[in-house]
């Protein structure tokens, strides 16, 4: 089994599905001959032909609109947005058409499509290349929103997203594209959507995160362990629909919850998780729910980027505050 990066895992999953299912097509800016801005589609056009891996003009609303038409007519398009923030021009398509097609046609037409986008900050990119808009997207009924945190999950969850009969937004944490390698067998085995992964079991506090922040969160859990605090760590993975049950079960066990995400604080998906746990799990809470998030500002340029993003220390500090709360 080769050890591959997250971006290579994405490439592997795309290749697997292109081969397995002739209805699968890829479209986007530079995805064809060029292999994509991050090389996610590297070599696919050469291998599967330019009518399966289609270079499009630089127009995101058109890419999304094209995908709607393809999916409505039986293809399984996988559209790439070069960065999550460039999805905004496609928002009309995403919000008003992609998310509602099944509802408006009373189930006659579903859109089996995926929009992939590199997501999140921490790579010293300009500010509109570093956003974390998962909460905006998860707010839209009718969309699934998936964020893998490591290469294996990128492979397994992307396969599941492509095979899902409904539209899925698949956000790839670009900071993790190349920092971790997993040994992955290209066996076509998908991972379940809509289910959290409990990556580490613990008894004193539940740490919940997703995407790139899983790495800081797991590191924080390691350090907390050394300080005698046993943290359970949950990778949300599917932002929407949210698997709140797994989180509630964990909170019922630990009594404390800290949510870590890199998006701005207000209205972040951390807020939604906190709200749901307050509704259903209040009686298990021994301390207020903690959030470690970005700040309510646009992602700053790179010199302040580290200050913006939750650090291991910030997570530990908040976790300790909650555990020591009396």
């Amino acid at each position: 089994m080769p050890a591959i990066t997250l971006i290579e895992a994405v490439n592997l999953a795309l290749a697997h599905e292109l081969k397995r299912d002739n209805d699968v097509v890829i479209l986007g800016e530079d995805v064809g001959i060029n292999g994509g801005v991050f090389r996610a589609t590297n070599g696919l056009a050469q291998k599967f032909g330019e009518d399966r891996v289609i270079d499009t003009p630089l127009a995101e609303s058109m890419i999304a609109g094209l995908a709607v038409g393809m999916a409505a007519q039986g293809l399984k398009p996988i559209a790439e947005m070069q960065f999550e923030a460039f999805m905004m021009p496609a928002y009309d398509m995403i919000y008003n058409h992609i998310a509602r097609m099944r509802l408006r046609t009373r189930g006659r037409i579903t859109l089996p499509m995926v929009i992939r986008a590199p997501w999140g900050g921490g790579i010293h990119a300009p500010e509109h290349h570093s956003d974390s808009p998962e909460a905006q997207c998860a707010h839209i009924p009718g969309l699934k929103v998936v964020i893998p945190s490591n290469p294996s999950r990128a492979y397994g969850l992307l396969l599941a997203a492509i095979r899902d009969p409904d539209p899925v937004l698949f956000f790839e944490p670009k900071r993790v594209y190349r920092i971790v390698k997993h040994e992955i067998e290209d066996n076509g085995e998908e991972y379940p959507l809509g289910t959290c992964f409990v990556d580490r079991e613990g008894t004193d506090i539940t740490l919940v995160s997703w995407g790139a922040m899983m790495h800081e969160t797991l590191q924080a859990a390691d350090k907390l362990e050394q300080q005698g605090i046993s943290a359970e760590v949950i990778d949300v993975a599917t932002i929407s629909p949210l698997d709140i049950d797994t989180i509630l079960e964990s909170v019922a066990k630990t009594g404390r919850l800290c949510i870590v995400c890199e998006a701005p604080r207000s209205g972040s998906w951390a807020s939604e998780i906190a709200a749901q746990v307050s509704e259903e799990g209040l009686f298990h809470l021994l301390a207020p729910i903690g959030r470690v998030t970005g700040y309510d500002t646009t992602m700053p340029y790179y010199k302040l980027e580290k200050q913006f993003m939750p650090s291991v220390d910030r997570i530990i500090e908040e976790a300790r505050r909650l555990v020591e709360y009396k």
């Binding site: 050890a3 800016e29 490591n150 397994g156 379940p192 289910t195 992964f197 797994t246 809470l285 021994l286």
Partner: protein, 567 residues
Amino acid sequence: MAYVFELPDLGEGLPDATIVKWLVNEGDTVKTDQPIAEMETAKAVVEVPSPVDGTVLKLHGKAGDVIITHAPLVTFGEAGKKAAAPAPAPAPSMHAQVAANAEKASATSGGGEVFYLPDLGEGLPDATIVKWLVKEGDTVKTDQPIAEMETAKAVVEVPSPHDGVIAKLHGKAGDVIITHAPLVTFAGKGGAAKAEEKSEPEAKGGDAGTVVGAVQVGNTIVAESSDAVVRALAKKLGVNLASVKGSGAGGKITQADVKGAAGKSTASVAASASTMPSASVSTDNPLAFRASPAVRKLANELGVDLANCETSGPKGTITRDDVKAASSGKPAARTAAPATVQPAASGGRLQPVSVTVHPEAVRGVRRAMAQAMTHSHQTVVPVTLMEDANISRWKKGEDSLARYVRALCAAAKVEPALNCWFDGENMERLVHPAVHVGIAVDTPDGLYVPVVKDAHNKSMADLRGDVEILRKKIAEKAIKPTDLSGATITLSNYGSIAGRYGTPIVSPPQVAILGCGRFRNELKMTERGIENQRMLPLSLSFDHRACTGGEGARFLAAVIADLEKPE
């Protein structure tokens, strides 16, 4: 001093680039921004500009060679020093501005491994060498300080990135080293250790002033924990993992096993539904009780153990009323039959000694006592003086309690330092003009300390009367908080039960407490020969932070003097 220009990040998100063609030769003089090489990345061929004016001393590689990002590309001669910082990489195309920035690592070049001065602050351009802590030829260990460097902010020690032998120190004390310029060169490959990942991607010059991104490049190989995935899948499909037989290595359950089990039976769905942890009966675990944070806070304030509360709320939750009821001493409605099974031993809590006797929650007055004593123990620095008073001359039927109170008042006049409050945190003391005597009263519920106010102004009869009133209030549970607060000194008359000397516990912010032991008869030499005398043992504890030993001793002497008066 030569300046080594490292291959900047070329705006692609890839860790290296291939030399297509050198545009300069060794020995050439170049200007800032003059293209020096054509490099091919996975995406494009770009020209790399010179970061400085200077002479090309050495080209690191030839056409066709792959250069790792941030490895040396060109070494410039003396003139190169003038440059403040490496120039930015060529502006990448607008829609593809993200580039790889190889992990911060010392790159291998010609003779040895060069360690470049990392950014010692947040974007500091340079630092001055204060002192070398090693010399050329030294063997160093990872993290061993190699130099003291002064930045605009502070003098910091720069640690070695790995084990190795120092081949060259780039500069001497007083020299300014530009951030990311060479600091030391290690001999050979710098030992076995590859530079540890420093996770400081912005530390490289390639980012300065550019608008590129830096996708971190690492090589950490990890195995996905299949457990988390299998559990998630089982949950999704409603499969009870306990009933699944694993076909993987060592009996491990695989995704296929879970899918197989899901296909076979839907009955297992019910079994898996009860994954919520069942309410534990152990009072050890606060989560054994369903109570909102506000209710828990109230219970904490009232000193009520949730184990002693009814659960009258929905779904067996404890309400505020349940806590209040438990606090007011209403018998707990939890009349569950005594467990016939001894609870499993659990960390640190008292274990029941038989099946019919269980540890009871310490609450109410008893709990307050425990907390007050803990507080005292943690804050006060106590010392206890012990001495006897000869009370042989007391009249028959003398009211001993009133005498003790009077003696305290008399002593407070002689030595006011003990009739005092002390705040050790703010280092303040408050010497009281009035004497309010707290009197420790033992009851079945626990310790009460009602206060006789303005004892210094009262007659013996009044003092006795006050004490009786307070005792009655305690018996009738009518004692008010105001009756229990404001003592300036305390009296503990344990001698009415038993005990000669003691080590009474000071109750902060008070600084002193007098313990009166049990009278005893003793043969004493007197002017009239050997006589039977009545002796009263006294134990005076005081907070040595607030009073000197002399003050304590003078106070005790004054107490004795008053007690030894005939009336």
